[in-house]
Assembly symmetry: C2
Homo-oligomer: 249 residues x 2
Amino acid sequence: MEAELCFACNRRLCTFLPNIHPVSERAVFSLARGERLDACQDGCLKFWIVEKGWAAICTSFADGRRQITGLETGGDTICGLVATPDAPSWLEALDDCVICQLDFSRAARDLQGNPKFMMEVFRLTHQRLENVSIHLSTLGRLDSTERVILFLGQMALRFRPTLDGIVRLPTSREDIADYLGLNAETVSRILTRLKKQRLVKFLSPTEYTIPDMAALERRLPVPIDVVGHEPRMDRFVAGQEFALKEMGA
Amino acid sequence: MEAELCFACNRRLCTFLPNIHPVSERAVFSLARGERLDACQDGCLKFWIVEKGWAAICTSFADGRRQITGLETGGDTICGLVATPDAPSWLEALDDCVICQLDFSRAARDLQGNPKFMMEVFRLTHQRLENVSIHLSTLGRLDSTERVILFLGQMALRFRPTLDGIVRLPTSREDIADYLGLNAETVSRILTRLKKQRLVKFLSPTEYTIPDMAALERRLPVPIDVVGHEPRMDRFVAGQEFALKEMGA
DNA sequence: TTATTGTGTTGACGCACATCAAGGAAAAAT
DNA sequence: ATTTTTCCTTGATGTGCGTCAACACAATAA
């Protein structure tokens, strides 16, 4: 099946909805590290698809403390992120990345009657709920070393298709800390400790390999899993673009 | 509009789906404190509606550490909770409570074509995603005192309809700790400190009032909010039962 | 009545993690 | 090339919170 392309931006249209362009307002953003897309506060319905690079789903408190609630890449879809005046929420580029924004606000009424669309929206939301719930448990009940080990393992799984086995982190130490509820110095200290224990091997501050995944997992009371973030070969091909996956009938 | 009642259990049927009984397998469980309903691991689709009392959404790790990811009561609906072999997930009664279980597994295929049903399922899931995300941020970035203050404030908002202003906690100190990622002794110590500061007034270990909600909120970098848990008068009437709310067309 | 059990409080103590600070290495800017 | 900036690492230090233990109190059982 040949995917249709958008005549304007030459990107593939959503495969689960044949004519998504007419009903969604589509925009493509190229963001540099640190740039943001803010979640809206009204009842709008925007999707963001991370087509290239890595982006973080962030929230912050009034005093500036930041928490990253999700790390998204190649084809991951953020569905209906909302913000409140006091609890802003946004998508932040971790490296140079391309985000496709689909705005279904105007088409929302019609789409509610489209079972395929609703099913896909439900699937995306439910999957993310599962991931956030697990993340929540780790912040509540794992100590800092366990959190970092889990993070390294999860990123390794998401990078598995790069068969040299090298994980190229898109995140700074502070990003990792904000994801894990720690601070950057603690993350750095734990990494050096894990290096000495030969649980991870660093080629550079942002490139590592896991010599023995099973050994890593034995240090954890939870399995290392990345449901909903299964890696796809094409994610790691530069310049590749993505579309919403066809939903399983 | 008169709500239909189930001839078997004399409970109201879901108002958004006229004939929910024929398509869902319905069961009502009366649970004593500590009893559980386990989430299934296959692709089944079960809803739990907390009709009376309080229940906690729990997960645990292999070594027994428990994390509570949600506290639910009068009419709150848990939609599609799933578990994995290594990360069990369950609903646990905090006091004597009544849970209505709707099993849509067999009807799932048909219901996917029902936009009202899908819309309601999406709304429930998305709302819970919002709540879990905020909860995650508090575990990652608030210190223990802030977490306890936020908890006291949120419970007070959920109890607002009891106009004597008294909050009757259904949770033990350990339950609170498992919700906040702390331990029971720490929670107890923080509560006595807050008592001395007159931020909260305890009538008994499980009954309190908030003399000055604004003062409480000034101690936090986040607003105290309970979206999706807006209190309803009938929640606090003993023996009252609930049904899924009619969705906003 | 006297045990018993569950729950909450408080104290002593230690460690894990945050904070503050300094220095190095790499990248970007000039 | 030189400066500037960003990022990472490491050390010194303090404290927030967990752990272990003892005890009070209420509810239930024997």
